[in-house]
């Protein structure tokens, strides 16, 4: 029983971190109509900055700077995307892939084969209660992510910004017709996604992970299934999907031995298996709506 509870807690902690990334996808999708395949390299940039700056600025200071930087680079990416001639889905998605390739090339070179520590304040300490042991980083990530997610939903629901996001047409041409405000809204979405990604990697690279290396950004890829499972463009769906993915991954890791028939390293593919399963039953995602097109 304690194993199960531990697993659920770890899963929720992991899921809440994925949610930070998935919510970013959601706002970008609503604002720009595309999936940001560059999220992994943007996240990696955030992580690298925290790794380089935490000694000088302290963990939280470095994180703040990193979040600002990732927000900025996401805005840059958005502006670059505006220059693309063809505005169809595939072209925009491919542009984000191109951006990712470029950014990742540079970051890989910077990181090399190092494994960097982000200097988080919790280290490898654990928390114990009723026989359950959980890493402090996991508790912290639940708390921080929880606060950010709650703030996001409150803003989405109750502020003018949120109203504009909810009303966003996702139609890039219509958006152009609606003028500058719309463009600023779109950029704000990218910035928020970038900032949240930096927070996410701060926790993903912390204990029990070894640290930040070249491949840490690929963890962001697990958030893609999360956003899809929930239904693209739906923040509640992104949250549900992320938590589901987090718990499934944790379960796969915890019960790996019982599942050894299916091979080792199951937790890596757990998100994808869940996604395929969900899509087979509900092609639009759990909370997504079927597109209706008018002619």
């Amino acid at each position: 029983m304690t194993t199960f509870v531990q697993m659920v807690i770890n899963g929720l902690a992991l899921g809440s971190v994925y949610a930070l990334i998935a919510l970013g996808f959601t706002v970008i999708f609503r604002a720009a109509g595309t999936m940001n395949f560059a999220q992994s390299s943007v996240m990696l940039l955030g992580g690298l900055l925290v790794a380089r700056l935490h000694e000088a600025l302290g963990f939280w200071g470095a994180l703040l700077v990193a979040a600002a930087a990732t927000a900025l680079i996401s805005v840059l990416e958005a502006l670059l995307l505006r220059a693309a001639r063809k505005r169809d889905l595939a072209s925009l998605a491919i542009m984000t892939i191109g951006f990712n390739t470029l950014l990742l090339a540079e970051l890989s070179r910077q990181i090399g084969s190092d494994v960097l520590s982000l200097g988080d304040p919790w280290g490898s300490r654990i928390v114990e209660f009723s026989g359950i042991t959980v890493a402090q980083t996991r508790v912290a990530s639940l708390a921080v992510a929880g606060v950010l997610i709650a703030a996001f939903f409150l803003a989405f629901r109750f502020t003018r910004w949120g109203l504009a996001m909810r009303a966003s047409a996702m139609d890039v041409e219509a958006a152009a017709l609606m003028g500058i405000r719309r463009r600023r809204l779109e950029l704000s979405g990218w910035a928020i996604a970038g900032g949240l990604a930096a927070v996410a990697i701060a926790f993903l690279a912390a204990f029990p992970s070894q640290g930040l290396d070249q491949t840490t950004g690929e963890v962001a890829l697990a958030a893609f299934p999360a956003a899809i499972i929930g239904g693209l463009g739906n923040p509640a769906g992104a949250l549900v999907g992320s938590l589901l993915i987090g718990v499934t991954e944790a379960a796969a890791a915890t019960y790996q031995n019982d599942l050894s028939l299916l091979g080792s390293g199951l937790s890596l593919i757990a998100p994808y298996v869940v996604m395929v399963a969900v899509l087979l039953v509900r092609p639009q995602g759990l909370l997504g709506t079927r597109e209706t097109s008018r002619v």
């Binding site: 220059a83 063809k86 491919i94 892939i97 890989s108 070179r109 899509l279 087979l280 639009q284």
Partner: protein, 372 residues
């Protein structure tokens, strides 16, 4: 040379000059192994495999308008499929391998069919989903596929991979033996030279099949689906079936690419079939020009050759440094990645038609209306 079935205001009669150029080009390709050193043969072979995969992906992305990140998976199915169909059971190191021991030509065809079957199995998703949903769903193929490759040790050999049996046709082997010495115009033809011609046949066949599809009824249906799905279905094009069919055909091409790649490498490992491979293929299509078979091939050559060429000349190029060296500088793979990223961005911003688009624009008679 646009293979978008719907474009061609002028009659499809090639000028004599173009025919002569084509013929000369073909002769050059046939003669190259006599003159090229091993390194360049390798570049060519690698490009041929990439071209096969790119032609298939072009059908899916350029014509049907679907984005797939799963191409690497089908390439792996083709490669491992051939290795298993043609391979013999036995012990390799610490692993007990299985294999059917089929004649290599049969194994090759079976591998392509297997890749197609894998595509068909994915059709409940590829048929019903489009856009970003499909793109992310195809990510699953690569990761789950990689997992299977690592764990199904008796078939794949696990992490260390598996040997790929040589291609053999009526006693003639595409290796350095059987015949042990083959002299053509005084030049010894070993494995690479022999594989060159097999590659040309495969790429030529692939090209012919792709062009037929694009110019005919299925190509029209796919393009119509991409432009306006509703109008296409009202006209009788069954959307889900066609999308699934495009996906399946694309996977067969990838399977062929994988099988040929296995023949070239002689040994395949799971790490060769990761997400970067899928992204490379997308880069090939974008750089070459969406919707054009010739563009796909051009893009394939560019993307495949680049890291190899940069590595070869690393000594003489500024900044680029051979992989693994301690000096500061960029490794060939890194440099290639920089260039791909820049190329994709530059092309989508300045020349969305890719290389094929640039060629088309030079030609005065064709209207430049590829961009929407």
């Amino acid at each position: 040379m646009s293979e978008i079935a719907l474009v061609r205001p002028r009659r499809r009669v090639r000028s004599r000059a173009a025919s002569v150029a084509l013929g000369a080009g073909a002769l050059v390709l046939l003669a190259l192994p006599i003159y090229l050193p091993g390194f360049w043969l390798g570049v060519g072979l690698f490009s041929m495999s990439a071209a096969l995969g790119a032609m298939g992906l072009n059908l899916l992305m350029g014509t049907a308008g679907q984005l797939s990140l799963g191409h690497a998976f089908f390439v792996a199915v083709g490669a491992y499929g051939y290795a298993w169909f043609a391979g013999h059971s036995g012990r390799q190191g610490t692993v007990d391998l299985s294999g059917l021991g089929l004649p290599p030509v049969l194994a090759l065809m079976a591998a392509v069919v297997l890749a197609g079957l894998a595509g068909v199995l994915f059709s409940p998703i590829s048929g019903r989903m489009r856009g970003l949903y499909l793109a992310v769903a195809t990510l699953a193929l690569v990761y789950i596929g990689h997992h299977v490759l690592l764990n199904a040790r008796s078939v794949t050999g696990g992490f260390n991979g598996r040997q790929v049996p040589e291609m053999e046709l009526f006693g003639f082997t595409f290796s350095n033996h059987h015949p042990d010495t083959l002299l053509v115009l005084g030049v010894p033809f070993g494995r690479l030279e022999r594989l060159w011609y097999l590659g040309l046949v495969l790429v030529g066949l692939g090209w012919w099949l792709a062009r037929n599809i694009l110019r005919g009824r299925p190509g029209r249906g796919l393009a119509a689906l991409r432009d306006n799905e509703l109008a296409a279905s009202v006209m009788g094009v069954p959307a889900a079936r066609y999308r699934a069919a495009a996906f399946t055909v694309s996977s067969m091409y990838a399977g062929a690419a994988g099988a040929f790649l296995g023949l070239v490498y002689e040994r395949i490992v799971p790490d060769s079939f990761g997400i970067m491979v899928s992204i490379n293929f997308i880069a090939m299509i974008v750089i070459g020009g969406l919707g054009s078979v010739g563009g796909a091939v051009a893009g394939a050559v560019f993307v495949s050759a680049l890291p190899l060429v940069l590595g070869h000349y690393a000594g003489s190029l500024p900044l680029v440094v051979p992989a693994g060296m301690e000096e500061s500088g960029i490794s060939p793979v890194e440099a290639s990645n920089y260039l791909y990223g820049i190329a994709i961005l530059a092309i989508l911003v300045f020349a969305p038609g890719g290389l094929a688009g640039l060629v088309r624009r030079r030609s005065p008679k064709v209207p430049t209306q590829e961009e929407r």
